[in-house]
Amino acid sequence: MNVPTMADMMAQGKQPEVLFWVGAAGSYDDRAKKITKSFVKILQQANVDFAVLGTEESSTGDAAKRAGNEFLFQMQAMTNIEILNAYEVKTIVTCDPHSFNTLKNEYPSLGGKYKVYHHTQYINKLIADGRFSIEGENLKGKRLTYHDPCYLGRANDIYETPRDLIRRLGVKSTEMKRHKSTALCCGAGGAQMFKEPEKGDMDINILRTKDALETNPEIIATGCPYCNTMMTDGVKFNLKEDQIVVKDIAELIAEANNL
C-alpha cells in the first residue's frame, strides 16, 4: 500500500489535508490491521491527501490513563503533542474511539488542539462533500446489528453518524435491546482489554454478544477495534463463527465498494 508518512511529506515540503492516527491496535493487532487497510482504501478512493506518523506515532496513553497512570498518560500525550505540533497538524482522523476521545478531549488542555474525527464521521463528511459514495450492492438485504462503542457513544454522544453510514449499505439493520445511550460495554474499555476480568458469572463480552445474537444477525458491525475483538471472541464462544461475521463499518464500506 502506498501510505505516506508525515516525514515523507515534510521532505517534499507538503502538508497533507489530514493525519490518519492509526493507533496501537490498528498498527499491531492482526484483526485491527484489516480495519486500518480498509480505511486507507476508502481514503484513497476519495482521493484524500493524507499521511500517517508511522514510526513516530506512539500510544496516545489512553489505556494508561484509564488504568490510573496519569503520569504515563501525560508523558505520552506531551511527546505526541510535540510531534504533532512540529508537523503543524490541524486535522486528525482515527478508527479507534479511544484514541479519538483522548486526542479530542484530553489533549487540548495539554497543548494539543486539533480537529479530530472518528473515521465514521470523516467518511460521512467525505460523502457530504461529494467526494465519496457508497455504491456497491454486495451487502444488500443482509441482517446487521450495530454495537455502539462506549467511547464513541456515551462518551462523546456519537450515535447517529455510524448509523447514517449503515443505512447507506442497504442492509437490514435491527437494533439490540440495549443500544445507543443504553448500550452495554463490550468489556474492553478502561484498560480491561489488557487484563483478565475480575471474578464473576460470565465475561462481559459474552453478555454483549448475547444481546447481538437476539437480533439474529449475519453481521455484527462495530466502530472500534477493541469492540471488534471482544465481539469476535463472543461469537466464537457461542460457536457461531460460521454464520456471523464481526466487521468494522470501514470494512463493510470497503466491501460494498469492492475495494
Binding site: S27, M75, R154, D201, L207
Partner: protein
Amino acid sequence: MEKIIPNIFFAFILIAGIGYFVMNVRKLIRNIKLGKDIDRTDRKPERWKNMAKIALGQYKMVRRPVSGVLHIVVYVGFILINIELLEIVIDGLFGTHRVFQPLIGNGLYGFLIGSFEILALLVLVAVIIFWFRRNIERIKRFMSAEMEGWPKNDGNIILYFEIVLMTLFLVMNATDTPFQEAGAGNVISQFIAPWFEGVSDNALHTIEKSAWWLHIVGILIFLNYLYYSKHLHILLAFPNTFFANLDAKGQFNNLESVTNEVKMMMDPDADPYAMPEEGAEDEVPEKFGASDVTDLNWVQLMNAYTCTECGRCTSSCPANLTGKKLSPRKIMMDTRDRLEEVGKNIDANEGQFNPDGKQLLDDYITREELWACTSCNACVQECPVNIDPLSIIMDMRRYLVMEESAAPQELNMMMTNIENNGAPWQYSQMDRLNWKDE
C-alpha cells in the same frame, strides 16, 4: 391565656423542628466542604438549564417510564400539597382556622384544596405501587447486597411516611364539618366524610384537630428525617445537577499536579534540585489520586449525599450485570458512609479530625471493585440526578497506581510496554508501519 397555649406550643415545635434541621444542614455543608476545591461555576446558563431539566423537569427519570411517571406524581403532589403548609403555619401561630378561605373566596380556595385532594389520592396510589415493587415484586435493583438493613428500611419508612401524611390530610378535610358543608374543594374527602357518620360533633372536632396536629408534626419529623436518609435528594438534586460535569463523559481531567512534574521531567534544562520558587506554597508534595473522602472533590462528596440508592446505575453496569463485585451505587453509598464517619469524628473531637486508622479504600471500597470497572459511563448516563460514580473509581485507581504501584500484574506489563515501546503490547515502535506492506 389558656387560649394561646396551643399557639405557643405550635411556635415552639416549629422553631425546634426547623432549628434542628438547619443545624444538620450546616453539618452537611461542612462535610461536603471537606472535599477538595473544584471550579464548577463556569457556563452558568447551561447549568441552570441542566438543573431545570433534570432536577425540576425530571428529564432523566422517564428513561424508565413506570418508576419515572410514578415518581413525578409523588414529587409534584408532595410539593404542591405543601403549599397548604403556609396556611397551616399561619393557622397554628395565630389560632385561626383556614385563614385563606375567606381571603381568596370559596371558589379559588375550593379549586386549590380540590386539586390538593386529587394529588393526595394520586400520591397514595403511587406510593402503594412503589411499596409493592419494593416488597412484593422485589425488583432486582432493590435487592442487592448493599441494600440490606438500613437502606432497605429507609426506602420503606419514607413510603409509610407519605401514606400517613396523605391520609391525615384527607381525614383532616373529611372531619372538618364547616369545610364539608361549604362543599368547595372536598372532591375526595366528601367520600371519606360518610365514614364518620354518627360520630359526635365533639369527637369529630377532636379527630380533625388531631389530624391537623399530626400532619404538621409529621412534616417536621419528615424534614428532619431527610438528613439521615437517601431522601436528602429532594433537596440536593438541585445543586447536584447544577454543579454536574458539563464536559464530554469520556473526558477525564488531566491532573495539574502531574502536568507540572511531567513538564519538569521532560524539560532537559530543568534543574531537578531547584528550590521551589519564592512564595510557592506547596511544600507538602501533593497526593495523587484518592484513598479517602478528603482526597475527593466537593462535587463528588455532594454526589454521595445526593445518591437516592435507586440502583439505576448498578442495574446498567456491565461489570455488575456479569456478577462482578462492582456496584456503582455501592461506591456512592460507601463514600457517604465514610464521609459521615469522618464528620462524626470531627464533631466528637472539637472540630479536628482524629485519625481513626480507617479510610475509604479497603475499609469501604475494595480493590477488586475498583479494577472491575470498564469506564463505560453507563452509570453516569443512567443516574437520574447526574451523579458520577466513575470519577471516584478513577481517582481511586490513580491512588493505587501512582501512590502504591498496586496495579494488577497484567496492567503493569501493559504500562511498561507503553513506556518502552509506545504501545500496550510488546512490539517495537520501529514496526509500527509494517502493516502497509503485509
